[in-house]
Symmetry: C2
Subunit: 450 residues, 2 copies
Amino acid sequence: MRLSRYFLPVLKENPAEAQIVSHRLMLRAGMIKQASAGIYSWLPMGFKVLRKLENIVHEEQARAGHMAMLMPTIQSADLWRESGRYDAYGAEMLRIKDRHDRDMLFTPTAEELITDIFRAHVGSYKDLPLTMYQIQWKFRDEVRPRFGVMRGREFFMKDGYNFDLTKEDALHAYNRHLVSYLRTYERMGLQAIPMRADSGPIGGDDTHEFLVLADTGESEVFYDSAVTDIRLGERDIDYNDKDQCRAVMEEFTALYARTDETHNELKFNEIPEERRRSARGIEVGQIFYFGTKYSEPLGATVQGPDGKPVPVHMGSHGIGVSRLVGAIIEASHDEKGIIWPEGVTPYHAGIVNLKQGDAEADAACESLYNALQALGLEALYDDRNERAGGKFATMDLIGLPWRITVGPRGLKNGVVELTSRRSGESEELPPEQAVEKIAKIYAGHRVSGL
Amino acid sequence: MRLSRYFLPVLKENPAEAQIVSHRLMLRAGMIKQASAGIYSWLPMGFKVLRKLENIVHEEQARAGHMAMLMPTIQSADLWRESGRYDAYGAEMLRIKDRHDRDMLFTPTAEELITDIFRAHVGSYKDLPLTMYQIQWKFRDEVRPRFGVMRGREFFMKDGYNFDLTKEDALHAYNRHLVSYLRTYERMGLQAIPMRADSGPIGGDDTHEFLVLADTGESEVFYDSAVTDIRLGERDIDYNDKDQCRAVMEEFTALYARTDETHNELKFNEIPEERRRSARGIEVGQIFYFGTKYSEPLGATVQGPDGKPVPVHMGSHGIGVSRLVGAIIEASHDEKGIIWPEGVTPYHAGIVNLKQGDAEADAACESLYNALQALGLEALYDDRNERAGGKFATMDLIGLPWRITVGPRGLKNGVVELTSRRSGESEELPPEQAVEKIAKIYAGHRVSGL
């Protein structure tokens, strides 16, 4: 993409309404624009990141054997009355009357509807296990929406649901989700720590929240510092293998890590003092096992091996996809702007032409731009007639991990400059080698296209 | 995907509520399930097709130089009051009050909001031309929703908006969209004929609808039969070249082709009698040029080259993505079921194992399944313990274009059977050759992943 033709409305001033850094930087980098309180438009660069996160979630869900589907945003109130949640949900649910005066709502979550689909079509234990998920817009009518996409009213969320014959199978689904969520966050360049949490309006016995440590987090968290040393990394995990998945779950949840809702001072004090930590965390996902809480009232049963009907064991699992855009920025920025992890950057590299209009510099930039594209890498080429300082400031603000700077002086020596946004370090090298190096960096960070 | 683990709730009976073939087949093939009147859940196979169509639209929009972004589904009524459409839109607009009693709505289209984004961020003619689009869920509260996804209330739509300095530039945007829409439909295996239409509540001077001929179409159309012989095909078109785009527009719109709203009997009778046709058509897209209709009331002006503010010339463009799933089925099916065009099929090939449990047949199927996957092709492998007749009926119903049938008898001679869903023709050939042939067929039909 050429910056001269891109819609990237960068702001020079800090917007007064933005209280936290991700909100400020998303507005300043031209990623979002508020449409109403807590409701945002995603401008081209913001949408590009959102879509990459969506695709990473889809890819990791497919790898775990879960099936993508999609439920509508507007649902009838009837099912919610059946489960008892229509009244229980309170003012956060956006309630709507259609033209025939029927009670509808904008779905904040979809346990009822997926259970309705299940009970209509699944009759036998032989059809289990079954896990389906969607990535769809949700609405929660927050009293005081704030912090940009971190606590908006309309938000983009992955929600998944598993149906199993036994508690044991359902707990495997729980563990499998824990593993696949860890992989999802790591691909996004995030460390998200599973912490024992409270189940809230979803209900159920077992639940873990995934928290990204950041000063601006809404939750107070308490943990053993050793938990931050664990990584999933490149381990090859068979999602059908119950023991493997359980082992990962146990490894990641053995050490103390809890939100304030479930914090236990006595247990916390058992941690060696030098490893006791309290900090702030951003919630980016949650998994639940809630047994037959929905299957019983909604009549989601299957015929068991003995011919008798049994209610299925269920769980649900959520990743806040739009909120993750903010969380990644909270976890990865400096005073100049965003620093995108390679796995989610909107463009793989920026090209800065120091002397637009200079025939040689222009030709070198074009050639770099084309060479990167030929390798399936996306470059953002700043081809505007601006001073170098302004171009650097824009690149730093929008946070592409790698920048190639092209100027007449370097070209005389056959080199361009390759700069890491994160470290600030630069090296001079011939253009072909810069392209090769960038291609190598991104070899492990490919997401399927838009 | 193995059918034994897939969620594909195929119905044996014709659902009573489905009046047209696409609705019937989408329900029978387990693609959708009604959630409320005119509102559907997309089950895994339905979602897979929907997502492919979405990706084709994204790819073709990017090729034309248009930028993807995303606007929220819930919008404030304020902007719609400013444009005067809040009252004009009538009962089809889903009106909502949030918890603070503010008037909101579920967006049926987004001219107001995109214009608001434009006026906030674009100030100079140098920032033009600019075209942005989104693919987002919309809602129209139809009195009598029917025909499944063809006339639902919640629907998935691409809507794009161009901003230009002059009428001439805006007409180039119009022509460019016409070309890129033609390419989009052709990739989906559809012939969609641009027909002069009425502009309805969007307004404006110039508008064409794209219609797919089908008996179940909601519109009566009149055309010169010669128009159905024109194809875009593999022509290489430079979307920045005004003359090239205009030439394509003229070629495709020179012959008489109109909906009943703009039909002119006198002009129609000028067509040689043997080429005069009246038929039914399904509307799958529409493009508009409406000049300054929104930019003037909403104050979307730029500073022109002479320093004076000028309202921008605009157009908007829509493709009904969820409706296209139905339209493709209306245009491509037989009495046994759906016949997917190669460009949009949920799976590239089906594998039918005639003797599940037979070691040799099972091994041959696994090997075919893996060989196709290794080439990036998706297979649906019917590995259930069902009789051959049932397996064939399911494959015919869900309509994958190519089926590989594997049985002990063929394997003895080293062959499997490759069958075309469209022609019904089969040939016997060694498994490797079947894979090669399928790979060759799909070489020109790749869509970026999920």
